[in-house]
């Protein structure tokens, strides 16, 4: 076999380059015209701006939920409103602003993009987290960050806080201007689900296992060095713009985690509220679909309990958007559920 790669009769590249460019333009059109509307996530992200504006325009208390898929599987807005109503609380306007697999860095840009940059300041922002989600992350889903949660003028802050490696920065620039590139993981999943039997279940199992292996090796995928610059930024902005923040530690199935003391200290120092739901509810493992996500029954039970705990807090939250300082014990606590000690 001739192993040489030297040849003299090479075809010129322009035709091939033209074909590639045409192919990518076609793909870009398909991604924007077909895939984006098809994707539940993308459809939701596109609506966040309008929903944040609509929430701002509501009379009465305005509550925004920030979190990831665990919040989606854990908080039922209808149950929440019903429970609050039965506890004599004026039913607030509620909107969910969620992104799968996200943590504090993504939540910071979501709040920045949809709330603060647009002049929106909900009276209460409830941030549901678990594990190390309040620690600065080192890995992101750059695609959705670039296409939905940030724009090109955000680069100084992003490059300072979040996208610290050259690779992440290049990816963010590419994903900002190239929707196909931004959506490549979703395109990949859709194509593979056509070819690979039980793809979703299989991919989730492998992903979870990879995550466990990384943890065993002592190299967690997020927060290699624990820092809380994003959390601090969120707390600073919320205080400046008059939004009350409530951080909710979410109970996971069969998994105990500790919230980093620096994160707790920051929350306390900035006068935000902290609620450890792990102390307040004991959910059976059967109420979970997997480690993080609740079943429909679990969702209802969790929301009900959460609303019971939240009710006295909302009662004190005036239209001014300020809560009395619960840590100093000046908050009038009433109703069937006393404000728990874990709420500082």
């Amino acid at each position: 076999m001739n192993l040489s790669t030297s040849s003299s009769s090479l075809n010129p590249l322009p035709k091939l380059a033209l074909i590639l460019v045409a192919l990518f333009i076609l793909l870009e059109v398909i991604t924007r015209a077909v895939l984006f509307p098809m994707s539940l996530d993308f459809g939701r992200f596109v609506s966040y701006g309008e929903r944040a504006d609509a929430l701002q325009s509501q009379a009465g208390l305005r509550v925004g939920f920030i979190g990831n898929s665990a919040t989606e599987a854990g908080v039922d807005i209808d149950v929440l409103k019903d429970t609050l109503s039965t506890h004599g609380v004026l039913v607030p306007s509620v909107e969910l602003f969620l992104a799968d697999g996200s943590g504090i860095n993504t939540w910071r840009v979501i709040m920045n993009h949809y709330f603060w940059k647009r002049g929106n300041a909900p009276d209460l922002v409830i941030i549901t987290f678990f594990g190390p989600s309040l620690d600065d992350a080192r890995e992101f889903e750059v695609g959705r960050l670039a296409q939905f949660f940030t724009d090109l003028e955000d680069w100084p802050e992003l490059f300072q806080f979040d996208l610290v490696t050259t690779g992440q920065r290049v990816e963010w620039i590419l994903a900002s201007v190239w929707a196909t590139y931004a959506a490549r993981d979703r395109i990949k999943d859709r194509v593979l689900s056509l070819f690979v039997p039980n793809y979703k279940e299989y991919a989730t199992a492998l992903h979870d296992e990879g995550h466990r292996d990384a943890l065993k090796k002592g190299a967690p995928r997020t927060s290699v060095v624990k820092s809380h610059r994003s959390l601090q930024s969120v707390l600073q902005r919320a205080r400046k713009l008059g939004s009350r923040l409530l951080f909710v530690a979410y109970p996971m199935r069969d998994t105990q985690y500790t919230v980093h003391p620096d994160a707790l200290r920051l929350i306390r120092d900035f006068g935000a509220d902290y609620l450890d739901m792990r102390d307040l509810i004991d959910l059976e493992p059967t109420l979970y679909r997997d480690t993080y996500h609740l079943t429909a029954t679990g969702k209802s039970i969790y929301t009900k309990r959460f609303a019971e705990v939240l009710a006295p807090m909302l009662r004190t939250l005036g239209r001014s958007g300020r809560l009395a300082d619960t840590a100093t014990g000046t908050t009038p606590v009433s109703g069937p559920v006393a404000l728990p000690s874990s709420m500082k």
Partner: protein, 553 residues
Amino acid sequence: MNYTSWTFWILFALVIVRYWRLSHRHQNDLLLVASYFFYGFWDYRFLFLILISTIIDYIGGLGVAGIRLTTDRIRRLGVLTVGSAILLCANVRYPDLFQGFVELDRRRILEALPHTLRDFYIPFAVTAVCLTYGRALPWLYELPEAARRKYFLVISMVANLGILGFFKYFDFFIDNFRTLVTSMGFGEPSWTTLGILLPAGVSFYTFQAMSYTIDIYRGHTKPTLHFRDFALFVCFFPHLVAGPIMRAHTFLPQVVNPRRLAPGAFEQGLYLVVIGLFKKIVIADNMAVIANHLFNGFQHGEAATLTGLDVLVGVYAFAFQIYCDFSGYSSIARGISKWLGFELIINFNTPYLAVSPSDFWRRWHISLSTWLRDYLYVSLGGNRFGPLMTYRNLLITMLLGGLWHGANWTFFAWGFYHGAILCAYRLLNISDDIATESAAGRAYWLWRVFLMFHLTCIGWLLFRADSFASVWQMAALVATNPAVTLFAVSSFATIVFYCTLMFVLEWWLEGERRLDRLLTSNWLLRAPVYSYLVLMLVIFRAGEAHEFIYFQF
């Protein structure tokens, strides 16, 4: 820094933009600086090892050829060595030092500098060796020719193998010797391993440096007087950490003589880079997820739910992972070398289409297998002293080839296994020549390829498993538990999805008997292939990037 990182490509773009505007001498200087910079990204301290290897082989090569260095040059080389030892090995904490200067913090600057005697152990030792060697050189030059040639060769071999042995095998041998002494009832010795970090690519550049001195000794090549040229020969960044291992007689002239960008070199380079990235990012990294599931499961004792079919599919995934990982690296190395005007040898030639073990080793990691053949197998006597000696030489060569990959008994077993199947095929006199004109001939060829692929997979099981216990468990599962699982079915479909078209392409290239056949094809054929490769690269890369496997060797 590796080929799959954006940082590499940005820096490489800066290098190549400047490169072709420079004179030949300055091109070499730029490549030398770039090579040290790229390597230093991993761990700058190990640059000292490359430098030591370079200086010893530079002096050794000239010494073997009977060329004396002037006292002034010897002194300058000594200063370079000791200076590098102080800069790189005296425990200077450069990030702190830099930060200290930025903040004008005197205390921080002083704390970043070496301040204990221990910090200077390596520079002291290096100075002592330099002074001794410097004093010995005039004496070595005065020796009779045969003795002088031998002495310089031996010094080069001892130094290179010493570096390799210490960094790669010291802990392994201490560990095993301790186990042996303990098992013999002498009590547990107090020796401890040193926890030595393995410098990336140490096996590759030491083998390349050794081949230079050996080739001069054998009269196959001539030494270069230019130290920087020789330094570039040793550390040329495209192939520094994972080969191909180049020989002096083919690569040194490319360094020493002016280069030009041959017509078509850009297209060829682009083709090789795209194919290489596709193999690594799309196939190898996606296969790694499946292979890791299997092998990590056994390593962590979480393999209770796995079946024989899971093992089989996991081993297939590893076979494709390691091939695409390594050949992908070689392909990218060749591609970017072409852009720089260099020609590296082909390291892989459709190895999974081999029909026998000897055919496999003519196609797999060609630069290492030919190195082992020329410098070890032939030196041991090759096949010149009858069948028994031939089998012995094959086994020794393959055992050492296995151990070259790493300090682990599983690598040793892998080498032994390949030596054994080489001997078995030789003993049974199974020919590689298969007439494929008839349908029966093609079927026989297919059977031989299938058999050899599975023999290779057994080898990969030994290569990848963490222990013999895991190998045994996996083999037992394959033999006893063929149950079909979700993992096996989904993984198999994933392997088919990612690998099929790549191997159809390789099969076609094999049939066409030219690896670059695609480059000369009609654009109507090339367009869909290139579109497929680029699309897969953009969309189907793995969620997590993995280091190239051979970096650890």
